[in-house]
């Protein structure tokens, strides 16, 4: 009896093996899984800050799915848009849930991505050989910002309308053809039906471009492999396979994330929605206190800190693009980020406090005090970047004079070895 059962199970396994080998002759299925999952080496010393890349992918999926289902009920027409949101909230089965999932998901996306970037800054993960990861990530951030901005217009509330009005006007700073560019972007002389329709189409398109960019980001990752808290290339024995060790760790992170996400989605869904946006868009009245979504606040503060249209726009765009230069601004030969570099660590914390301050300035009603704080913080923001080459060099000299920690020196043996393997000794 038992033998027969065993035999039947055995037969099933044989059948599965046959199917897999049939596929393998035509498609690199098994070798792909081996190379990218079951044998893909990941540093064993990763901490939970390394969970956020995976979480970003999860939020992307949540946004894609909830967004597609919202689009089945949404109408991109100035006369219908606001009411179609009410229709989703009141009439569509679980429409409230799907909409709150999407609006909470937008904030969750930025929260996760900002933590992901903060980790990269703290541990110096942007440094060679991961420059392309850093740059594709930066492009992803810009695409995410554009998608979020265009999505914010769709409910066609007061904040939607005036947010779009202000942001499209930023392009008016373009020299000579500013006005024409703004009219072209809007498809009209003000934000109107044409603007709403194209924003809807692009808001639907961009996530798929983001998906493509994520694939490039991951291909780059699997070429250079994950960084780790030490900032060094680890010896082979210090790597463990992604599956099952990090699938399990990522799943644990997913559960914690989903608990927090559900708390917001079910109990505080309006926390990230401006009350003013429950009033239909009115091109004749600007809300008294207009603020962007929380994830744009620091950049908004930098924009406001410059008392000149073009200057403000350049400063704001520059405040994001300047991150691209980081791999070259960090001149230290001591590997990694804050772990073994006390001065870099102090700079990191000051920079983070400065960003929070900028966020506060961005949210506050503009007064003389906030204007001064905003300017000081904006200057500090850019000076942090510009000072980094000199600070990192001086720090390295100081650290070498003081003597590097034994732990670091020991690990650097492997680092040099692995590095020359990677570059074929041409370095």
């Amino acid at each position: 009896m038992e033998g027969a059962l065993f035999f039947r199970r055995f037969e099933g396994v044989m059948m599965a093996n046959k199917i897999v080998s049939w596929i393998d002759q035509r498609f690199p299925l098994t070798s792909f899984i081996k190379h990218e999952l079951t044998e893909y080496p990941v540093p064993k010393n990763l901490n939970y800050w390394w969970n956020f890349g995976f979480l970003a992918g999860l939020v992307l999926v949540i946004q894609l799915v909830s967004g597609i289902f919202l689009a089945m009920h949404y109408k991109p027409d100035v006369n219908l848009a606001f009411d179609s949101i009410q229709h989703i909230m009141r009439d569509v089965n679980y429409g409230w849930l799907i909409r709150y999932m999407h609006s909470t998901g937008a904030s969750a996306f930025f929260a996760v991505i900002y933590i992901h970037i903060t980790r990269t800054l703290y541990y110096g993960s942007y440094r060679a050989p991961r420059e392309l990861m850093w740059w594709t990530g930066l492009v992803l951030l810009l695409m995410l910002m554009a998608t979020a901005f265009m999505g914010y217009l769709l409910p066609w509330g007061q904040m939607s309308y005036w947010g779009a009005q202000v942001i499209t006007n930023l392009f008016g700073a373009t020299p000579f053809i500013g006005h024409e560019v703004v009219v072209w972007l809007r498809g009209g002389f003000s934000v109107g039906d044409a603007t709403l329709t194209r924003f809807f189409v692009l808001h639907y398109l961009f996530p798929f471009l983001i998906c493509a960019m994520v694939v490039i980001h991951l291909v780059a990752l699997h070429s250079v492999k994950s960084s780790n808290p030490s900032g060094l290339n680890l010896c082979a024995k210090d790597n463990i396979p992604f599956h099952p060790y990090f699938t399990v760790k990522d799943m644990y992170g997913v559960m914690i994330f989903l608990i927090v996400f559900a708390l917001f989605m079910f109990f505080a869904p309006e926390a990230f929605i401006e009350v003013e946006n429950n009033i239909p868009a009115n091109p004749m009245v600007t809300p008294v206190h207009i603020v962007p979504e929380w994830y744009f606040l620091p950049f908004f503060a930098i924009l406001r800190a410059v008392p000149d249209l073009l200057g403000g726009v350049v400063a704001m765009v520059g405040s994001i693009l300047i991150y691209a230069a980081l791999p070259y601004l960090d001149r230290s030969k001591i590997p990694g980020g804050a772990r073994y570099r006390p001065v870099y660590r102090i700079m990191f914390y000051l920079f983070m406090i400065n960003i929070l301050l900028l966020g506060w300035v961005g949210a506050a009603t503009p007064t003389e005090t906030t204007a001064i704080v905003g300017r000081v913080c904006s200057i500090f923001y850019f000076v942090s970047f510009l000072a980094l080459p000199f600070v990192s060099k001086a720090e390295e000299r100081w650290l070498r004079k003081r003597g590097l920690p034994q732990e670091l020196v020991e690990m650097m043996v492997c680092d040099v070895e692995m590095d020359s393997k990677r570059t074929g000794g041409n370095r």
């Binding site: 079951t38 089945m72 009141r90 799907i98 024995k237 790597n239 463990i240 396979p241």
Partner: protein, 181 residues
């Protein structure tokens, strides 16, 4: 690099680098995780599936009240119910007589089972083949799409349609008003 790697499949590492004492425990945990994940994903999928069902405003259009006083004997009128055409035929005595006999077709049904009052026939005006609207003819209805013919009781006579025209749920609110749905 990957050759030096500790392979997850081939070498199972326990707490002290030894083989686990009870691998079945781990198998159970893996299976339990799989089941819990499956249930979670299934539960999360439900609201999305539900959202594609008719929304509350569509459901509120479930019934249509029709004043049938204006339909003279022998005439037919088409009204809309849930976005679908409904034929209301005020049959005369000759038509009622003609329908008394049940024809030998693929969906034989007595006329009495298809009407509430013999002089009123109420059927959904969509061909049961592929949903076109049949046109009124002398003998009943004829579908222009694929040639299905129906009699004055909405019963299929010939053609590809699999069954008789559907009779919607309806009731006589008064002698001159019916409520469909």
């Amino acid at each position: 690099m990957s050759n030096d790697l500790i392979k997850g499949e081939e070498k199972i590492i326990g707490v002290n680098g030894e083989e686990p004492k009870n691998p079945k425990r781990r198998d159970f945990l893996v299976q339990a995780t799989g089941v819990a994940t499956g249930i979670g994903v299934g539960a999360a999928a439900l609201p999305f599936i539900e959202s594609m069902k008719p929304s509350a405003d569509v459901m509120s259009k479930a019934t249509t009240e029709v004043d049938i006083a204006g339909i003279s004997k022998g005439d037919t009128r088409t009204v809309e119910w849930q976005g679908k055409p409904v034929f209301i035929l005020h049959r005369n005595d000759a038509q009622i007589q003609a329908m008394a006999e049940t024809p030998d077709t693929k969906d034989p049904q007595d006329d009495a089972d298809r009407v509430k009052k013999p002089e009123w026939l109420v059927v959904i005006g969509l061909c049961t083949h592929l949903g076109c609207i049949p046109n009124r003819t002398a003998e009943g209805w004829f579908c222009p799409c694929h040639g299905s013919a129906y009699d004055d009781s909405g019963r299929i006579l010939h053609g590809p349609a699999p069954r008789n025209l559907d009779v919607p749920r309806y009731q006589f609110v008064s002698s001159e008003k019916i409520l469909i749905g």
